[in-house]
Each structure stands twice: as structure tokens, then as C-alpha cells.
Point group: C2
Chain length 209, copies 2
DNA sequence: GCGAAACGCAACAGCCCTGTATCGTTGGAG
DNA sequence: CTCCAACGATACAGGGCTGTTGCGTTTCGC
């Protein structure tokens, strides 16, 4: 589930100077910062990256053959899986799953990269597929697992489309990530409010559905 | 509320050949198509646009001084305001507002441009502001108007945060626009399902909120 | 210490984009 | 019919990015 870095293997492993791990992260950090500052994945140039990282252009070429591969390692940086919630009730479990997402949304650099990736998915198919497999799919599975358990426990209606419920829960956070309006987002409080409203509904109680 | 085109005024208005309106739209269409094909607002070059439009580079420069201004006219293209819903009930009115949005989401070119614009908001502040004022704000106003009326009519709870309800309703569509997963979206059917679920809630009826 | 690879610096050709200018041609207004 | 601007084509200098090569220096393994 955790991505292996795709950094170029340091050639024949006999003698010679060691690669500086700080250089690797400096480059990746540079990409994160520049994308967060408004750069495009396509538009980011290797010269700009190297300059921002305080590294020679050589050191970038030595590690990654393509921008594509570099971005794969950047993407791996912003994916820290969390343990599946196994909590007391459906409400708490849902909030926990949303928290994982909300924390990423609040992270300006992470959400900037994902936003850019969505916009340029056509240009980076491999990257986009990886994003889907490693980040989106696991979250969906965790979500539907919690929802299914909620139905079994009788805490959720059994006549609702669980996929739609999941979409409803997740979308407010995704939409904020997409629009970049992540300032006034409190991961703890807002996820709680979303879960509460989705469970309870906005319609008047006496008003028949 | 409707944007005036920012096309360069055709100089002194005395004699001379007329501008071909077809050229204007050909250029704008070219931008729409190329962005929908995965191009970036920053990355789109004037040569590429002119080539795609089947127009000389000259004709583009003659009309717009900056890509920024060109994009303003592109943006104006994808904004067709709809009459405010004044319908029978809250459920129908909400569905109507969402429909306006859903139709735009389903439009590949429109959603592509808006997705790109969100990703590159930092690079095009004027454009982004305009997008917000002309497209986002009106929709929000329409939405909250409907919601407020719903509370007055007793069809909505009076103890819910209407802004959150609005966000919950709109976000599934925005999230799809952002991720580009717009294929299996049925504007009529899906907006209806969203409204129903938000009104009714997913929690079990006997389960106290 | 010797070899080898990582590193920074610099140069190179090739390509694309920009902005401006100059042509000859075309078509509408007066 | 006569202007005059729109139009296509072309050229130009200037700048940026790419990918590769060569150089001298640094650091690690053996």
C-alpha cells in the first residue's frame, strides 16, 4: 500500500560518494512549495525546481528521468495512511474517516498538489492512477466499511444508497480542497458537523420523506 | 450581472474591413477545446490557440492584449444565468438550483475551464475574482434564498446551519467537477437523489440526534 | 590512498513561445 | 470607387527550458 520511491537506483553499488538524502527531500520540498505557490505540474521547470531546492540541475536529472517519476515520489510524500477506525459508534467512526481527509485538506501543500493533479490528470495518467489507487480507493473502502457496519448496527437507514451517503460526507471536504478555500476549516469541528447533519437530515421531522 | 466582453475595441470606427465574429468565437472555442483536452491556462500558448482556431496569430493579438483578458471572455461564455426558482416546494426549488449547477458540471468544456481556474487561481487573480462574483456568488444567493424560504414554510428544520446545508447540497457536484468524474452524472436524477438524502438524512429514524 | 560516484558549475544545440513588425490581400463603409 | 482596417503569412530578436556533455571538487567504500 505504501509506494516504493521510484528514485533512480544509484548505479553500481561499489564505492563512490553517497547520495545525500537531504538533496532528495530538498527537491521534493521544492516541488511541494512551488505547487502550493501556484505552479502547475506541467509548467514547473526543472531549472526552477533545482533553483528553489538550492541544488544543481544535475542532481535532479541523476535521480529522476522524467518529471512524471519525480512527481510520483512527491505524491508518495503526502500519503500517510491511518488505521481503520474501530470505534464505539457509527457517528464517531465516520468522523474519524473524515478527519483523515480533512487533515490532508488543511495541509496547503498536499491539497495544492492534489488539486493540480486533478486538473492535469490527462497529462499525467500514471500519476493520476496512482493517486486513485493509493489515496482515493483506500479511503472509500474505509468509508463504506464503516457505513455497512452502521446499517448492521441499525444506526443507519437500510434503504439508503451507501455510495451516495459516502459521497455526501466526503464531498464538502473535497470541494474545499478543489476551490482552495481551506482557511476556515476546522478538521475536528467541521467533520463533526457534517456527520451530524448527514445523519440527521435537514428536513423538518414532521415532513414526510 | 452579465459580463461585457473585454475584446479590444476595433480602433477608430471609420471604414475598413469588419472584424469577423466567427474569428472571435473560433478562438474562444479553441481555448475551450484545448483546456478540455488537458491544457493548462498558464501553459496554453497563443501560437497553439491560433493554430487550433485556424486563425493567424495576428488576429489574437489584435483582440486581446493579455491571455488574462482572453480568458475573461472565455469565462463569460460558460455562464448562462437561470431564472430563480419560484416553485411549489422547497424540495423542487433546491433541485432546480442544483440542476443549474449540474448542467454546467456535465458540460465537459465548462467544468474543465473552471477546474483549471481553481487550480491556477493564484496566477489569474482577476479571473478568479470574476468567476466568484459572476458564477459562485449568484448561485449561493439563490440557494440560501430557497433555504430560508424553506425554514419559513416549515419544510426545513430551524435549528440547522443553512450555510452548511447549502454546502452539503452543492459539494457533491463541485467535487465531481473537480475530479473530472462527470461521466455517470445524470443532472435530473442525481440532483433529486442528493436533495432527498439531505432532507431526509441517513441516520435511522429511531436513533436520536 | 585509490577509485568511483555524487555534487556544483558551465556550456552547448535545439526547440518553443513572445511581442513586434512588415508584407500583400480582402472586404465592408462611406 | 476609394479608403482603411481586418486578415494570413512571414520574419525577427529575445528569452526560457531541455537534455546532454565536460570539468573540477568532494566524499564515501574498499
Amino acid at each position: 500500500m505504501i509506494q516504493e520511491p521510484v528514485v533512480q537506483e544509484p548505479a553500481a553499488r561499489q564505492g563512490g560518494r553517497q547520495r545525500d538524502p537531504a538533496t532528495d527531500s530538498a527537491i521534493i520540498e521544492a516541488v511541494l512549495d512551488m505547487v502550493a505557490a501556484g505552479a502547475t505540474l506541467t509548467g514547473l521547470s526543472l531549472v526552477a525546481i533545482a533553483k528553489q531546492a538550492g541544488v544543481s540541475r544535475n542532481s535532479v536529472y541523476r535521480r529522476w528521468k522524467t518529471k512524471d517519476e519525480l512527481y510520483l515520489d512527491v505524491l508518495a510524500t503526502i500519503n500517510e495512511p491511518r488505521p481503520a477506525p474501530d470505534g464505539a459508534g457509527t457517528r464517531e467512526d465516520l468522523a474519524a474517516v473524515l478527519r483523515t481527509l480533512a487533515d490532508r485538506v488543511v495541509d496547503v501543500r498536499a491539497s495544492s498538489v492534489l488539486r493540480a493533479l486533478n486538473a492535469e490528470a490527462a497529462t499525467f495518467p500514471r500519476l493520476h492512477r496512482r493517486y486513485f489507487e493509493e489515496i482515493v480507493a483506500p479511503r472509500r473502502e474505509a468509508m463504506t466499511a464503516v457505513l455497512r457496519r452502521g446499517v448492521e448496527r441499525g444506526e443507519l437507514r437500510d434503504d439508503v444508497d451507501l455510495d451516495l451517503v459516502a459521497e455526501l460526507l466526503v464531498s464538502p471536504l473535497l470541494a474545499r480542497m478543489a476551490s482552495g478555500s481551506t482557511d476556515h476549516l476546522d478538521p475536528v469541528r467541521d467533520t463533526r458537523r457534517i456527520v451530524d447533519l448527514v445523519l440527521r437530515g435537514a428536513g423538518a421531522p414532521d415532513d414526510d420523506a
